[in-house]
């Protein structure tokens, strides 16, 4: 049975995409296929999570080739959580894009691309093979390339040039790192590599050298300071459904990999690497949040916040205690949901107000109270106001930091969260509270406009936002399940023997 449930998160979106390709010109059919795919993906990943939770780490050796020789798919709690998060975000974005995207874009492969992107994400999360990881990364990356450029408007093109070039370099570094690891140890299976690395006597230094390439490659992909420049340049440029999905999910996948590799493989010479990560995480938080504070565009503020939040997730890895890693895991899941939600909200605001620029917006508070409420929840969750979800992650990280005496970093992280509040309230002030700048259109008239034009559409667009907000509220108000899952996941991560045994002793 585990053979099936481990490949389902890959096969479902893949088959969905293939079917969509067969019905290339028929949007209606594609929509049906998409909904079916997303629903079954949700179910499959939820099942995967529950199985992993009950039965421990699941593995399947693709092609029935024993562990170090073939490619092994491995699902532990962390990876299953990521898969679930991707499915949840996927379904939300999918529903949003039913009406939130122009048909022209949909006709040029949006649905299959989205599905393949999900497949790439799931692949990265589930694979237990270093090179296979690279391949899945490329799958998700090329989907991102295309999605970001889809439509070819000026900002999109400009953003994608930077995105493509820099991520190409990142992939190359990743590949170089993988090559080095094979060149040093002669294996690609992560579990076996873990064994080999721990047994390696004379080439600790070399392995650490290889890990630098992973650090930089994945650091670029997850937008760590000083490697994040591509993100604020590109993430806000595509249509919001695409932004939301990519912004919510993809950088976290980079971080997932970073955590996976630096807990499983590169555990040597931590006295060199971890301080680096500490500094990087602090700077990432600060620079990201300051960047956000400077922005005057809804989406750009959100984009810079991604960077800032990445700092928190990295912080957990840098501190490297069970609590810290659990904090990172919780934070990743929380952030995936919240970020997607906020981007979608910006999309709804754009749809009803026709702008992303704060200066041109206003008054949403009055005529879209539900949206305003959802924004407050998501925004303050992002800022880590308790009892919303962001708080728990922040709490775990801060506690872990204090426990190991990283007072400076904790102070930084807490100050950054103040600045996060600052920029979130900036949006709130400008978009929701402020009077509408266009004095010729009163709020009522604007409402009337919407009513006539596409009220059902707007309702439909609210739906995924509401879904995500409920999810955020759930993991915030009833944090225990996710927190304890994160704890167990982090235990699995830090006790590599469990992973190694699950893969190699079958």
């Amino acid at each position: 049975m585990q053979h099936l449930i481990l490949v389902l998160p890959l096969l479902i979106p893949l088959y969905g995409a293939i079917l969509c390709l067969f019905f290339w010109r028929k949007l209606g059919v594609q929509r049906v296929i998409g909904v079916a795919t997303q629903l079954s993906l949700c179910a499959a990943s939820a099942y995967l999570l529950s199985e992993t939770d009950q039965a421990g780490i699941l593995t399947t050796h693709i092609g029935n080739w024993e562990a170090p020789f073939g490619i092994t798919l491995v699902a532990d709690l962390f990876s299953s959580l990521m898969v679930v998060a991707s499915a949840v975000v996927g379904i939300a974005v999918f529903v949003f894009s039913l009406r939130g995207l122009s048909n022209a874009r949909l006709l040029y492969g949006y649905y299959p691309l989205l599905l393949l992107l999900q497949m790439g994400v799931n692949g990265v999360c589930l694979t237990g093979d270093l090179f296979n990881l690279y391949v899945w990364f490329e799958v998700l990356l090329i989907c991102c390339f295309v999605l970001i450029a889809l439509g070819g408007s000026k900002p999109q093109l400009e953003g994608s040039i930077k995105y493509v070039t820099i991520n190409f370099l990142a992939s190359s570094f990743l590949l170089i790192g993988i090559g080095m690891v094979y060149g040093i140890l002669g294996s690609l299976n992560m579990a076996e590599l873990a064994v080999l690395i721990r047994a390696a006597e004379d080439n600790h230094g070399l392995i650490t050298l290889a890990s630098v390439f992973f650090l930089i490659g994945l650091g670029i992909k997850s937008a760590i300071f000083p490697l994040f420049f591509w993100l604020p340049a590109s993430y806000h440029t595509p249509p919001i459904a695409i932004s939301a999905f990519i912004a919510g999910l993809i950088t976290k996948v980079g971080l997932y990999t970073l955590i996976r590799l630096f807990t499983l493989l590169f555990v040597l010479n931590q006295d060199i690497v971890l301080p680096l990560l500490l500094v990087a995480s602090g700077l990432t938080m600060v620079v990201g949040v300051l960047g956000a504070a400077a922005q005057v565009d809804f989406r750009k503020i959100l984009s810079f916040h991604i960077v800032s939040q990445i700092g928190y997730m990295l912080m957990g890895l840098a501190i490297f205690t069970p609590l810290a890693i659990a904090g990172s895991i919780y934070f990743i899941i929380h952030n995936i949901l919240v970020k997607t939600c906020l981007f979608l909200i910006s999309g709804v605001v754009y749809r009803t107000n026709g702008s992303f620029t704060l200066k041109n917006l206003g008054g949403v508070y009055l005529f879209q109270p539900l949206l305003a409420a959802m924004f407050v929840i998501a925004a303050f969750s992002l800022a880590g106001i308790p009892p919303l979800s962001g708080f728990w992650g922040k709490f775990m990280l801060a506690k872990a930091g204090l426990e190991v005496g990283q007072f400076g970093l904790v102070a930084t992280s807490l100050s950054v969260s103040i600045l996060t509040i600052f920029s979130m309230t900036k949006i709130w002030n400008e978009v929701f509270w402020k009077k509408r700048p266009r004095t010729d259109v009163t709020a009522d008239a604007a409402m009337a406009e919407i009513n006539v034009a596409d009220k059902p559409v707007i309702r439909l667009l609210h739906l995924p936002v509401l879904f995500l907000v409920l999810a955020i509220l759930f993991i915030g108000l009833y944090a225990e399940p996710l927190v304890s899952l994160a704890f167990r996941a982090s235990e699995q991560l830090l006790n590599s023997e469990i992973y190694i045994n699950a893969v190699l002793l079958k």
Binding site: L157, E158, S172, P238, R351, N360
Partner: protein
Amino acid sequence: MDILLPVLVGFLFAAGLYLILHRHFFKLIIGMMLFGLATNMFLFVIGRLTRGNTAIIAGTDQVASEPFADPVPQALLLTAIVIGFGVQAFAIVLIKRVYQVFGTNDLDDLDKTDRIHEKYPDKASE
């Protein structure tokens, strides 16, 4: 050969990076390709090299007999080459479109999405 190819790899990397850092679109894409080639060569060199022996089981043998080339870097390389091609082909087309739309070939002219006050009209996307 143990010194020749590493040096070559270094040169390829250097040239690729230099062209990427060049501001011209066309040089950028050429640079990306060189960089990709360099990465592939690196991958090839880092697995140990054997002269003249393939990774194909010869004649009527059942198993490969030493010396034979390590097939693993080759297989990885193949995958990487193909993936690189996909990415690069897309990049070429992207650059062409960028040139068509912007009418410039200087990458420094593409600095607007990073600006705080972006110059692009606010209505380009949905």
